[in-house]
Symmetry: C2
DNA sequence: GGAGTTTACGAATGTCGTAACTATC
DNA sequence: GATAGTTACGACATTCGTAAACTCC
């Protein structure tokens, strides 16, 4: 699992759109689809219920969303702290 | 950044040995070296002071160690919770 | 000289983007 | 029929392991 995939998942969850998430990440739509698929495969559970015209979070997706936000935020703070330690 | 690299870093930090960390991850020593190098490059700071006979955490490494532990733990719990949600 | 870390290099794996397909409205 | 998500596929990048080199004790 990598942080980029989590960021990708967060953007899809917040936009409820693969297209807009792709735009926000400066990636193509297929790349977003594959990252979400990989994430779901790794978790062994679906995160979204999607048809071509509707994207919706599953209960597992809602649970994972909050955790993903925390993890991404924590990792960004960890990087900042490490950098700050190396300077100061 | 991916969780595997963090796990790798944690194992090196706890064993103060690239060789033992590699063993614990069922990977080769060079793979561990490269993951740590990548991580350091990404952070823009050294995490270990190492000679061939001694491995030691830098201040940035110590700071990052605590954060890395949290992130890895949180991600494991996030996976568990998502799986549980999908079942129950 | 031996234990342990780092390069070198070829192979395998993964990820991306373009293009084509499918499905919903 | 237009919009949005998914496959197919070829290309690029990353990561791995074996083998060789380097370094400190």
């Amino acid at each position: 699992m990598n942080i980029d995939s989590l960021q990708c998942f967060i953007l899809v969850a917040e936009n409820l759109s693969f297209a807009r998430a792709a735009e926000a990440m400066y990636k193509s739509q297929p790349a977003v689809t594959k990252q979400i698929n990989s994430l779901e495969a790794e978790l062994g559970t679906a995160l979204f219920i999607r048809s071509t015209r509707h994207v919706e979070l599953t209960p597992a997706g809602m649970s994972f969303y909050k955790d993903a936000k925390d993890i991404v935020l924590n990792s960004q703070m960890a990087i900042d702290r490490a950098k700050r330690q190396s300077i100061g």
